[in-house]
């Protein structure tokens, strides 16, 4: 059972959206995420840095098919934090 827990770290719109997208994939490339969120490189990097420091997101830079790519994935802690935060929001709205 997921525990509802409001997490101020991921509450910002972009950060929640980052977690929402990463929940649905195993990994996603930095550029693809940037395009989905429609933000600049610097804005996305800033959010990812905060999430990475909290061990919610993992960044992996590797050479794939001849070019350097940055892959992002949500950690188990990140999934738990996101799920708990969404549940907390649902409790606020009164869905639960």
């Amino acid at each position: 059972m997921i525990e509802a827990k409001f997490d101020p770290l991921i509450h910002g719109q972009n950060r929640l959206q980052i977690c929402a997208i990463l929940t649905l994939t195993a990994e996603i490339e930095f550029k693809v995420l940037r395009e989905k969120l429609e933000v600049s490189d610097s804005v996305l990097s800033k959010h990812l840095k905060s999430l990475e420091e909290a061990h919610y997101v993992r960044l992996s830079k590797r050479t794939d098919m001849g070019r350097q790519r940055t892959w992002l994935s949500l950690s188990a802690d990140g999934r738990k934090a996101y799920s708990g935060h969404v549940k907390a929001l649902q409790e606020i709205v009164g869905n639960l």
């Binding site: 409001f6 649905l24 994939t25 969404v86 606020i92 709205v93």
Partner: protein, 160 residues
């Protein structure tokens, strides 16, 4: 038991959930297998089920099983490869409890469908293999189209 820092209003929480729902929906749409590839995968799977149900010691339907399996596996490999080129790696293994449960239910359904199709076909019901092949193909196509992320629950509809 929960720990809430309710520093946001109901309206804000609602708006946040709605925006999350929208982005999840959009992401799911982008994760979908292309329709043509979905068709190839489903048909090859259905053909494999049909061929397996029709296989007897004195016919060549086992060749159909082999060919269908090869086509199906190649289609899956193509999907993963092309997704990777596009910058998205689909999930291969479940990452949450709901995904695991969903995966197990689907696996049980398909195992039962395949087993029952062959059993009915062997017992003399001539249309069993056709029905089994068609049902498994349609269900697989539906699952791949509607649940591309491998979870029946969206994050904004959690109740894990």
């Amino acid at each position: 038991m929960h720990n809430n820092d309710k520093s946001i209003s109901v309206a804000e929480a609602k708006a946040t959930l709605e925006s999350l729902g929208k982005i999840e929906k959009d992401t799911n749409v982008s994760l979908r297998v292309p329709l043509w590839l979905n068709f190839v995968m489903s048909c090859s799977y259905g053909m494999g089920v049909f061929s397996w149900a029709s296989t007897r010691h004195d016919n060549v339907w086992m060749l159909g099983v082999i060919v269908s399996s090869v086509v199906f596996l190649l289609a899956i490999a193509f999907h993963f490869y092309s997704s990777r080129l596009l910058g998205v790696k689909p999930k291969f293994a479940p990452k949450s409890k709901s995904e695991l449960i969903f995966g197990l239910l689907i696996a049980i359904f398909f195992a039962a469908a395949i087993g029952l199709t062959r059993a009915f076909s062997e017992s003399g019901i001539w249309w069993a293999s056709y029905a089994g092949g068609a049902i498994t193909a349609v269900v697989l196509a539906y699952m791949m189209h509607c649940y591309p992320s491998g979870d029946y629950k969206m994050g904004t509809n959690l109740n894990d």
